[in-house]
Each structure stands twice: as structure tokens, then as C-alpha cells.
């Protein structure tokens, strides 16, 4: 089937999509956007976290057809730079596999709660696994991004 979806502000079309295919597969294999990572394929690891109509979701659990006519923002999209920069500066990136999903999840937290307490950060990132176990640096990154966002009227 054909799937039409707005990705990072651009209208995209994917053809010959199998009906059981995930949005993640369409993004990575058909639309040339490998930033969202494919790991557990069961919503456990959060590596494939993207925005679907502005809601953070695991792209591996969205059927491709469910994205028809909707808006998707991936790690390749605009607006995530500040969180990304904070991850770089704090050394919150080790192997980097979990990073795209964590950046989207952290961004989603910060636009809802610009000054999260540590337990709130932990809860917001509970669906993102880092196999390098670099969680302390990741906490630092989110705290840094939050402190920078604080001075601004709105995040995003």
C-alpha cells in the first residue's frame, strides 16, 4: 500500500508498504531516515521514539498505515538541537544508539515541564534504555538543557 505522511515538515510518500510494517521501518528503510534506531521492536527500549502528531511514541509500535496523513518528527527534524547540544556537552553519548530516542523523550519532557525534578526526569525517561548504562550523564544532559530553557519564554 501507499503511505503519505508529513515527516519533518516535508510531505513524503512511501510505496509498496506491507500492511504489517511499522512506521519505524518506513522511516528507516523507505524514507532514508535512519536516525530513529531499531532495537527491541516491542516498545521496551525507546530507541525509536519519534513525535507522531506531536505525541512521543515508539515508532516500532505504530503501524505504517496509522501514520497516513499524519505528522511525524524524528531526530533529524528541527527543534531538538538544544537538547542534542546538552547531550554532547555533558558526554551523555557513549555508543550513541539510545541517543536519538532519549533526545526526543527528553525534549518531550522539557516542553511539558521546563524545570523537572530528578524523579520526574527518571520517570520521563523510564521507557528509554541505555545499554552503556550512561544514565548519570544523561541526567546531567537533561538538567543542563532544562537550565538553558529556563531563561526562555517557551521551549519549541
Amino acid at each position: 500500500m501507499r503511505v503519505r505522511v508529513e515527516v519533518n515538515g516535508e510531505q513524503r510518500v512511501a510505496d509498496d508498504v506491507w500492511e504489517g510494517e511499522s512506521l519505524l521501518y518506513v522511516l528507516r528503510e523507505r524514507l532514508g531516515l535512519p536516525g530513529s534506531k531499531n532495537a527491541c521492536e516491542q516498545g521496551e527500549c525507546g530507541s525509536c521514539t519519534v513525535y507522531l502528531d506531536d505525541v512521543a511514541v515508539c515508532a516500532c509500535l505504530v503501524a505504517a498505515g496509522q501514520a497516513e496523513g499524519r505528522r511525524v518528527r524524528t531526530i533529524e527534524g528541527d527543534g531538538l538541537e538544544e537538547v542534542q547540544q546538552a547531550f554532547l556537552e555533558t558526554g551523555a553519548v557513549q555508543c550513541g544508539f539510545c541517543t536519538p530516542g532519549l533526545i526526543v523523550a527528553a525534549h518531550d519532557l522539557l516542553r511539558r515541564d521546563p524545570a523537572p525534578a530528578d524523579p520526574d526526569i527518571r520517570e520521563a525517561l523510564a521507557g528509554n534504555l541505555c545499554r552503556c548504562t550512561g544514565y548519570e550523564k544523561i541526567m546531567d544532559a537533561v538538567r543542563l538543557a532544562a537550565s538553558r530553557a529556563k531563561g526562555r519564554a517557551a521551549c519549541d
Binding site: M1, C58, V62, Q66, A126, G127
Partner: protein, 284 residues
């Protein structure tokens, strides 16, 4: 595989009637896992995510009608005060990403004994609304489950909503798992106090072939002195009766013996919390 995209409930029901083997999908948190792992190859997927009425909620005279596909995140944010037990359970579901997609309708449709939404629906006497082209019927949540992953749902039917009665007292939910997120319950328990009827509702999760009520425990709690604090001995007795009502098995998540023990603890704690809240609120 066919991919069906109804935009109205009437259309969805017509499609389900014409293709009863079509697997309904909303948040995809169960269905896509099975497809990704090749455990299921349905002939058709019936995508309910564009059926607006399934993702809505509204107030009724006697409670709140929560659309089957309303994601848990919205259950928590929008109807949390009207369905406190369900919202408490919803907060323990998966992760933010999962709560943004998963819904009560999916939990009911899958009918796993471990579904987090089920114990509170049993405890507060919620009703499941089921529709097909033949009409709409309601089934008490307490009668919905017939076996592991089995329910009263006919092949041409869809779960369309749950009707949660207006709370008439404190409600609590507790769950045992290996971490604070992303766990399928080892066991779980919900309690709902009805401070008008002076009764207590219960729901046991993940410790039997279906979600269960603890009828003896409910009977015992109804006989408590509602004008007094809860004696510790009564909380313990309640926990024991809940543990006895469970019908757990050994599996990868825990042993039957552990589940029974943990349930007794959860029941004792949740009743104690709910009773303290009831006494504090001054309805005594």
C-alpha cells in the same frame, strides 16, 4: 494483509461484521509486538485510530464514559479524578511512550490476566460497552473475562468504551514488578471504597486465569466498623482473604507462592491507605 481505516464507528462496525477475523489496532502496543515478532499474521488490521468517538470521553449521570481508544496518558490527565483507581493503574503502565498510545480498550480486547486496567474496573464496578452492527450491549467488567486472553467479545464486536461509576470513596491500586516502569505485573491489586453503601470492591490482577474479585475479602470488609480506624488485625485478615482468593500459577515472572504472598501484602497496604484517606476526609 488488508489494512482497513474506518473514520466512524458505524464504518468500523460494518468492517468488523464483514471481516470478523480483522484484528483491531489502536495504540499498537500489543498487536504490533506480535506482528514484529512474527507471532501473528492477521489477514486484516482494523485501524481504530481515526475513529474519533473511540478516543473521546464524556460525563454521564452515573459516572464517566471513557472511549476504548483513549490513551492512558489522557485517562490520567483528563479523567484522573473521575476514575481514580483506573488512573492509578494507568500511571503504572509501561512508559510515557506506551501510555501515549495504549488504551483501556486494548487491554480489554487482549484480556490478559495481567492487564493493568482490569483490577480497578472490577473493584469499582465498571461496565464494558460493546458494539456490533447488531447493536450495543453492556457487560459488567466482573463478567467480561472468561479465561486467559478470552472474553465475552464476539468476533463481530468491538469494545467501544468503559463506563466508570462516579467514585464514592477512596480507590487504590498497587502492583508488583521488577522495576518501577515497563513491567508486566507479577501481581496487582485494586481496592475501591464505597462510603455510601459501606462496601469495598476488589480486583486481583495477574494471579489467576482471569482478573478476579476477592469476594470473601469484600464481605469481610463490608462488616468492618466504618466509624473507626482500621485495626491492623483487620487489614491483615483482609490481606489473607485476598491471597486466598487468588488462583496464581508459576511462570517466568514469579511463582504462585510468591504471588499469593505479595497479593496479601498489597491488599493489606491498599486497604490501609484507602481507609486512612476515608477517615481523613471526615466522611466517617
Amino acid at each position: 494483509m488488508e489494512f482497513m481505516r474506518p473514520t466512524t464507528l458505524a464504518e468500523a462496525l460494518a468492517m468488523k461484521a464483514a471481516t470478523p477475523e480483522a484484528v483491531p489496532i489502536a495504540g499498537g502496543t500489543d498487536v504490533m509486538v506480535e506482528i514484529n515478532f512474527d507471532k501473528r499474521r492477521p489477514g486484516a488490521l482494523l485501524d481504530l485510530s481515526s475513529v474519533a468517538e473511540l478516543s473521546a470521553w464524556d460525563l454521564r449521570d452515573d459516572g464517566t464514559r471513557i472511549g476504548a481508544a483513549l490513551p492512558y496518558a489522557r485517562v490520567i490527565a483528563e479523567v484522573g479524578e473521575r476514575a481514580p483507581g483506573l488512573a492509578a493503574a494507568a500511571r503504572t503502565v509501561g512508559s510515557p511512550q506506551i501510555r501515549n498510545r495504549g488504551s483501556v480498550g486494548g487491554n480489554l480486547g487482549s484480556a490478559s490476566p495481567a492487564g493493568d486496567a482490569h483490577p480497578p474496573l472490577l473493584a469499582d464496578g465498571s461496565t464494558v460497552e460493546i458494539a456490533s452492527v447488531r447493536g450495543t450491549r453492556t457487560v459488567p467488567a466482573r463478567e467480561f473475562f472468561t479465561g486467559p486472553k478470552k472474553s465475552v467479545l464476539e468476533p463481530d464486536e468491538l469494545v467501544t468504551a468503559v463506563l466508570v461509576p462516579a467514585p464514592r470513596g477512596p480507590q487504590q491500586f498497587a502492583k508488583v514488578g521488577t522495576r518501577n516502569a515497563m513491567v508486566i505485573a507479577v501481581c496487582s491489586f485494586a481496592v475501591a471504597l464505597d462510603t455510601e453503601a459501606l462496601t469495598v470492591g476488589t480486583g486481583i490482577g495477574s494471579a489467576g486465569p482471569t482478573p478476579l474479585r476477592a469476594v470473601e475479602a469484600e464481605r469481610f470488609a463490608a462488616g468492618l466498623d466504618w466509624d473507626a480506624d482500621l485495626p491492623e488485625s483487620a487489614a491483615r485478615r483482609f490481606g489473607d482473604l485476598v491471597a486466598q482468593a487468588a488462583r496464581p500459577i508459576d511462570d517466568v515472572r514469579g511463582t504462585a507462592a510468591y504471588r499469593r504472598h505479595a497479593l496479601g501484602v498489597l491488599a493489606r497496604r491498599t486497604l490501609t491507605w484507602a481507609w486512612a484517606e476515608y477517615r481523613r476526609s471526615g466522611c466517617a
